[in-house]
Symmetry: C2
Subunit: 113 residues, 2 copies
Amino acid sequence: METLIDEATASTVKSYIPRNAMLNTLAEFFGACSDATRAKIICALCISEMCVTDLSNVLNINQTTCSHQLRLLRAADIVQQRREGKIVFYSLKNRKIEDVLAAGVDFIFPESK
Amino acid sequence: METLIDEATASTVKSYIPRNAMLNTLAEFFGACSDATRAKIICALCISEMCVTDLSNVLNINQTTCSHQLRLLRAADIVQQRREGKIVFYSLKNRKIEDVLAAGVDFIFPESK
DNA sequence: CAATCATATAAACACGTATGCATATATATT
DNA sequence: AATATATATGCATACGTGTTTATATGATTG
């Protein structure tokens, strides 16, 4: 097929596409948000720092699962931990995650203005 | 463990957590953004409506892969199609997807103000 | 209506992921 | 040091996902 779009548009598009490293980073980040359990955890931490046991109790997920997902969220730099004795408190590392969730909700639902 | 957070905080958190249907929808939506190929396609369509062949040529992905991912993006209501003869043009269904990507980029990188 | 072109689908494969059980590690307490 | 508590890890299992090859569909052209 003889490409339909003109050369100018084609090169505009090409120059607009982020480099692969960037695309992969972005995809990984959204991947960290793309699980209901992790979304739940993030929402909870929007309200308050919490320890693993409280998180699993309040969210009704088992401790192991919670711990596993917290590790992923930590790897994605979404969450940070702070140890106090035998208890580990988790909190949002970067509050901008709330804007991301809000943008997602806003995309999905007609804006309620 | 006797939960550490107080009852008030616990119930605030609980009431803040979206219902499961919502969490799943949100997770699915972010899942649609969580692949480098799809992110690439979305970025391209931010610039211009395009047909499958042009997309695969410009983005350097094969036609089948492109078609598969377009189907997923369509299922996620991110993209829409319009047929003109034998050619199918794809475009963003909802420009708010740009805000989502921007929020993601903004999360990952220190805001450049 | 046969050939061609653009796109879509099916099937297969390889790989990744979410969860839970069993168990390990770390800290505190006695 | 032995025990209890909070969290993390390893492993197994089940399920999902991205890509490719081959093939089908649907539309246009000669």
